[in-house]
């Protein structure tokens, strides 16, 4: 059968891009001022850390787990970045590497003891929050100059946040979706028995995925502090839900193995833009939360339509 535009597989990957484009179009229409370098940069620079957190969550979802601690983990990283990394760079780097190692160890623990990831990560979310409060009891700290310089860097023609999202999406896409290792990593979530029988170590894949999630979580926290210039122990708690919603909006599934890095990033950007659109429309704050939910439901409804189409063809 020829692959037409109506092929569900293509449609499936088109839905996130399409909803992103429609939303962006609506924003340009409502507030023409946003249609500029300055406008895009402002609207999307807080979306960039969410995109990184979403990629981190995506790695966990790939191995059929769920991470409920990514928000507090990003907050902790933000606190470390705004204090240790700024005052004693060596200590800061060690602490951040330690964070990634802790994530990898969590992956090993979950696999070896066969624990439910939801429970372990929920517990860890309190540990991360506690560490963040110990490190920064009251809001403060400041971003290292090189970091805020990097994030605020004004690229010619394309805003930094768009370029960074694009590069991030492409790198993760090729590593996870196009490489042989990537196929094994995804397979360990989609069909773990098959991967194990073929001689791959599930422990190794799980540790790798958790370490990658830790790495992208660290990136997210650092970029966030670069943008806000200082930290707060509760700065990113919302990221847990944002990141899960972003992956699902972008075409991922809770069942493991089925994810789309580019879709996930588009999902994260879509989530960020929904808030902007609603505030440009001057919808009263009481209604904004509801309206945000309705937009998400519409996008997900489109997805399930595509899924049904897929089933019918199969």
């Amino acid at each position: 059968m020829p692959r037409t535009i109506l092929d569900p597989k293509i449609l499936r990957s088109l839905v996130p891009a399409l909803s992103f484009a429609v939303l962006l179009g609506a924003i340009f229409y409502v507030q023409p001022r946003t249609m500029s370098y300055f406008g895009l940069n402002l609207m999307l620079n807080l979306a960039l850390p969410i995109a990184f957190a979403t990629i981190a969550q995506m790695f966990i979802l790939t191995v059929n787990d769920l991470d409920l601690s990514i928000g507090s983990f990003v907050s902790l990283v933000a606190c470390i970045t705004a204090t240790w990394l700024n005052e004693a760079p060596l200590l800061g780097v060690v602490a951040l590497l330690g964070c990634i190692a802790a994530y990898a160890a969590l992956g090993a623990l979950i696999h070896l003891r066969n624990l439910p990831s939801i429970v372990v990560t929920l517990g860890m979310s309190f540990v991360w929050s506690g560490c963040a409060i110990l490190l920064l009891p009251s809001p403060g700290g400041s971003a290292p100059d090189w970091l805020s310089g990097l994030v605020k860097f004004r690229m010619p023609f394309i805003p930094f946040s768009i370029l960074a999202s694009l590069i991030l999406g492409l790198i993760v896409h090729f590593a996870l979706m196009r490489s042989a290792t990537g196929a094994v990593l995804r397979g360990s979530g989609g069909n773990p028995q098959a991967v194990e029988r073929a001689g791959w170590s599930l422990l190794k894949t799980k540790v790798t995925m958790y370490a990658l999630a830790g790495f992208f979580g660290v990136m997210s926290g650092m970029i966030l502090v670069g943008t806000t210039t200082s930290a707060d122990a509760n700065i990113a708690l919302r990221y847990t839900l944002f990141s899960i919603a972003g992956v699902i909006l972008g075409g991922g599934e809770f069942t493991g193995g089925r994810v789309s890095p580019i879709g996930a990033i588009l999902g994260a950007l879509t989530l960020a833009l929904v808030g902007s659109l609603l505030s440009f429309l001057r919808i009263s704050p009481e209604w904004q939360i509801g309206a945000q939910g309705i937009i998400l439901i519409v996008v997900l409804a489109l997805r399930s339509l595509v899924n049904r189409l897929e089933e019918r063809q199969a």
Partner: protein, 340 residues
């Protein structure tokens, strides 16, 4: 566009430096002001938003400004408020009046707003970014004032009971520090006992009741607001004479005081920050837009009710709420000139 705005601003600044006396009369009828608020979940914040809406609706009607929208984020989160601020920059507001989710985490967005030529005025929960104006609350003074008042009432001094607020918060620390400073100034007083009240009547009543059996006769009770009525109830329930309890402008506190005043001439004073401080933020922003030379750090005046003003204070207090007051342009100008 941004650049022209900056030049305009620079021009306005130069102008205001050149003729400060006339500058604040400049026309602001084409200016758009926005309120950025992070939380609307308690009665104080709701009264704050309501005051803003009422005062600014009138200002818009009178042609003082073109618009003054109120915005609240869904959740009390710094990143969400930062995104809200960035959207406001794009909406082309001339001034943003801000009650911040975090003193520091919004600095990046606030700086971006300043760079775009927008006047940012933070009040109540202020931000540390230097380009923004701050209308801060002097909690320390609220502590010192209590001891000053008691020193006038009881020149001989005596033991005091102190009711603290929520532990670990900066407000509690600062009021407590103010009380200690007051006692240093008036060494005839001493804190006989310290209990935790969490700014809540029921908590205060329970903790005061638990120390009463072993408490010596105190002349006064120093408080942080929201705890005075509970303390009074505890003294009454134990059948002890009620000492002078400093009140915090809550309606139950004022009502109790009024009853006692009518019955036996009970005397005290009451103080707190009025939720209408949002309107002070609005007028300060308007003054800055009009070209007035405004110092970056201003202090919110506390709303103080003395014996004579009790009836008037009760009128200004909604049932179950806190005494409120909407500030006027003249009051904002007065505050600005007194801070210079």
């Amino acid at each position: 566009m941004v650049r022209t705005k900056l030049i305009c601003l620079a021009g306005a600044l130069a102008l205001s430096a050149a003729m400060p006396a006339f500058a604040q009369d400049a026309d602001t009828s084409d200016k758009n002001v926005a309120l950025s608020n992070n939380y609307a979940g308690n009665s104080w914040r709701q009264a704050m938003i309501k005051s803003w809406q009422e005062a600014t609706a009138k200002a818009v009607e009178d042609g003082v400004v073109a618009s003054a929208d109120a915005n609240t984020t869904a959740e009390n989160s710094a990143t969400e408020q930062a995104a809200q601020l960035q959207n406001m920059i794009l909406q082309g507001y001339d001034a943003i009046v801000l009650n911040a989710a975090s003193p520091t985490a919004l600095n990046g967005a606030v700086k971006e707003a300043c760079d775009a030529g927008i006047t940012v005025v933070s009040f109540d929960a202020t931000v540390t970014e230097e380009c923004a104006w701050r209308i801060a609350v002097d909690f320390k003074k609220m502590g010192v004032d209590q001891i000053d008042y008691l020193a006038e009432r009881y020149p001989d001094g005596g033991p005091l009971l102190e009711i603290r607020g929520l532990p670990g918060t900066s407000v509690d620390e600062q009021i407590h520090a103010g009380i200690l400073e007051g006692i240093e100034k008036h060494p005839q007083f001493e804190i006989a006992r310290e209990v935790q009240g969490d700014w809540t009547q029921t908590v205060a009543q329970k903790s005061v009741a638990s120390v009463l059996p072993s408490l010596p006769d105190v002349v006064g009770v120093v408080t942080q607001g929201g705890d005075g009525y509970g303390a009074a109830r505890a003294f009454e329930a134990a059948g002890r004479e009620v000492p002078t309890i400093i009140m915090g402008n809550r309606s139950d506190e004022l009502q109790w005081w009024k009853e006692q005043k009518d019955e036996n001439g009970y005397e005290t004073f009451s103080q707190s920050i009025a939720p209408g401080v949002s309107t002070l933020g609005f007028w300060v922003a308007q003054q800055i837009l009009a070209g007035a030379d405004v110092p970056k750090d201003l202090q919110v005046p506390t709303l103080r009710i003395d014996q004579d003003g009790l009836d008037q204070g009760l009128e200004m207090t909604p049932e179950g709420g806190v005494t409120n007051k909407e500030y006027t342009r003249e009051e904002a100008q007065e505050l600005i000139s007194s801070a210079k």
